[in-house]
């Protein structure tokens, strides 16, 4: 049962990577390592990213449109170029937000004991919002899913109704903090990767 589910997840992963390539290299080694362990497999992953998002309102994610998306540090000029092309001075309604998002991993675990061991590694690596998200009724069929995520992030409303509210020096400051937060997330991923040896 666990093996079948894992095989399907790995096939899905290969298909996705074949289609679009892998944009966030930093997470490739980690998912490879996790998937090489017999008691785990990954169902989704992101190494952390900086995002420019247009949303009708806070939290209305389903209607959000990505204006820009980077799995690496950005410059203010890159952010401004996207804003000027698609958010500022347009008739588009809605808000534009800059987000620096934590790495996130979803990992299916064979047993509750394995999930606890993984959670310990995640917490020790600094992923303090990690937790067990779902447990199937039978604990031994691979439906124990751990979410690994960090608390640090940046969520700044920048513009509304085509008007950019953020000054140039403030955007400089925000972008530098977004890059710093992104780098912290990626450093945690490195610690997490090292910690995975505890699970062998």
């Amino acid at each position: 049962m666990f093996e079948e589910r894992k095989e399907r997840a790995l096939a899905r992963l290969r298909a996705e990577e074949g289609k679009k390539g892998r944009v966030d290299e930093e997470v490739v080694e980690i998912i490879g390592r996790l998937n090489s362990l017999k008691d785990f497999f990954t169902t989704s992953s992101c190494s952390g990213r900086i995002v420019l998002l247009r949303v009708p309102e806070v939290g209305a994610k389903r209607e959000a449109v990505f204006l820009g998306k980077w799995h690496r540090a950005v410059t203010k000029e890159e952010v401004l170029a996207v804003l000027k092309r698609s958010a500022v001075g347009t008739a588009e309604k809605g808000e534009v937000w800059l987000l620096s998002q934590s790495p996130i991993l979803h990992v299916a675990c064979r047993t509750l004991g394995k999930a606890k061991a993984l959670l310990a590694v995640a917490n020790e690596s600094g992923f303090k919002y990690s937790g067990i998200k779902t447990i199937s009724n039978s604990n031994d069929n691979g439906k124990v899913v751990v979410e690994i995520v960090s608390t640090e992030r940046i969520n700044v409303p920048l513009a509304e109704g085509g008007v950019l509210f953020c000054s140039d020096p403030h955007l400089d400051f925000i972008v530098s903090k977004a890059n710093f937060t992104l780098a912290r997330g990626k450093a945690k991923l490195k610690r997490f990767y090292s910690g995975l040896k505890m699970l062998e």
Copy 2:
């Protein structure tokens, strides 16, 4: 065992409330309700808040200093008053951030099954970062702890080294979004409270 731990947690709660009063009223009914159920007790809670924080760097929470803290909507004038008193034009190093934080609850559950039931109520109420944080080796002694938390928040760097980078119109916009986010969190708490009848 569970009963002893619960009794100690309730005594701690009464002592705290006796000492400082309860600042966030919106969570009082919820923790009262949870603590009235025989299979649960709360170990910490916050109904969500808007915070002005001075930090040496992103995520260095242990060294953070609260400049302002509100469990309710704020005005730009209130925020500016705190900034001018303690953050802008001073020789203080470090950064000043405005945060709008999700409600957060930690709930000890008698069994894993009860934790799963609580987690289902939390997720249905919109607390999408909820998860099981710790499970003791013996599942039946009240050490299954569920964290209930939402994804929405605002984290904006405003000032650094005594210099306010945020313009007045931008601060208006940020404060309105912080209030909106806070209100969304409190609406989720109401849904969660209604959902608690599923646990009886």
